[in-house]
């Protein structure tokens, strides 16, 4: 039991103020969620950068594979009609 360890890896997401997104800020090491939150506060919000913190065990995150990115995101490539600039507006129409 007495093996030394640098504890588990957690990813930290910080919301700057209410109304904005939680954004990935970096990582911390901690053995449980309370320690992870406190470490994240001390490491990433020393100057009032946050009003809320999420910590997530790094092992719980699933990520898309960069090698497959082209095929994975391909479905969006041929659907230009999803953008407003695709449409031709009649001459003289305003506020559209």
């Amino acid at each position: 039991m007495a093996t030394d360890s640098q504890l588990d890896l957690w990813e930290v997401f910080i919301q700057g103020r209410n109304g904005s997104h939680h954004t990935h800020a970096g990582s911390v090491h901690a053995s449980d969620k309370k320690m992870a939150l406190q470490n994240a506060r001390d490491i990433y919000t020393r100057r009032g950068e946050g009003s809320s913190i999420w910590v997530v065990p790094a092992v719980a995150i699933s990520a898309s594979n960069p090698e497959d990115a082209e095929a994975f995101f391909d479905p969006a490539d041929d659907k230009v009609y999803r953008h407003p600039t695709f449409y031709q507006m009649p001459e003289g129409a305003k506020q559209i």
Partner: protein
């Protein structure tokens, strides 16, 4: 035939990798990268992290003797920042596949280096001013350049660090400025700190470009964006005026403004000293590592207790 195909595929990957970083685009942890890129970054980022952490020692030396409660609070906040910077950087290095345990072991066994500057002692309170103003000032020049390094996690850590470092430099300069307005003894103390820290600060940028062993790959892969000499010159050019404003003399008889180049010329750096310190024979190399090991060992029970608590909680709720 098969081997040949694999080799060709490797060449193709390397070529497209270099084209990609050549366009100024960022590499993320799970992207393919050449082994040389990975190992160069692990060495550079872990060395950078170790420097932040070992750099806490010369300043920690003065916490109990800070001349006012204001100075003590500032110094504590600054040292806490340095610890934080070390952690941002260790995390960035970990994304490349090295563990925190391995990095600590490399530091403690001397396999990994840290910035030479922290092997010098902080003898007086003016040294705290000189460290903030000159040592952090030199570090900032380097770190500003690294904000655009090609590896995403390293670049993001640099952006965060640069935001925080400017407080460090300003608090150091304020200490020096106040001492230069003080008694003759205080002015003398400030000048003495300047004399001892100036040259080691210039050495922080590393050897001259021609003697810098890892430069070629680092430039091609956009890990480095500016050369050692370029960054050193930038630091000198902006620091000379700051010294003049508060009445400090730069301890370099050959320092003079060069109208033609638009830069200051400076005297030759004592590279023998640089290599002597890097090889472990600076004033405090052994003490710095011994202290790190001691703090690490004395903290082991905290990590063990945290692990035991985690296991107990898991048993309770599963």
């Amino acid at each position: 035939m098969n081997n040949e195909n694999t080799a060709l595929a490797q060449d193709e990957r390397l070529r497209s990798f270099e084209e990609y970083v050549g366009e100024g685009k960022a590499i993320e942890p799970r992207d393919w990268m050449p082994e040389g890129y990975r190992s160069h970054l692990i060495r550079q980022i872990s060395q950078h992290a170790h420097s932040e952490v070992i750099g806490m020692q010369p300043e920690g030396n003065w916490i109990t003797r800070a001349p006012s409660i204001r100075a003590k609070q500032i110094l504590l906040a600054k040292i806490q920042d340095e610890g934080g910077h070390g952690l941002y950087l260790y995390s960035a290095a970990e994304t490349l596949g090295i563990s925190r345990e391995e990095m600590l072991e490399q530091l403690q066994t001397g396999k990994a280096k840290y910035s030479n500057i922290f092997n010098y002692p902080s003898l007086t309170w003016a040294d705290i001013g000189a460290i903030g103003w000159l040592v952090d000032g030199a570090a900032i020049v380097n770190q500003v350049s690294l904000q655009r390094t090609s590896y995403g996690p390293y670049s993001r850590a640099m952006v965060r660090i640069c935001k925080e470092e400017s407080f460090h430099q300003r608090q150091g300069y304020e200490i020096m400025a106040n001492m230069m307005k003080g008694t003759p003894e205080q002015r003398e103390m400030a000048q003495d700190a300047m004399n001892r820290w100036w040259w080691p600060s210039l050495m922080m940028f590393g050897p001259h470009d021609g003697d810098s062993p890892h430069s070629a790959d680092a430039f091609r892969w956009k890990i480095k964006r500016h050369s050692n000499d370029e960054l050193r010159q930038k630091f000198i050019d902006k620091t000379v005026q700051q010294a003049e404003v508060i009445g400090l003399t730069i301890p370099d008889a050959d320092l003079k403004w060069n109208e033609e180049t638009g830069h200051y010329d400076h005297g030759e750096i004592n590279w023998d000293e640089f290599y002597r310190v890097i090889k472990g024979n600076g004033p405090l190399n052994k003490q710095r590592i011994a202290h790190h090991i001691k703090a690490h060992e004395e903290g082991a029970w905290v990590r063990e207790a945290a692990q035991a608590y985690k296991q107990k909680q898991a048993q309770k709720y599963n």
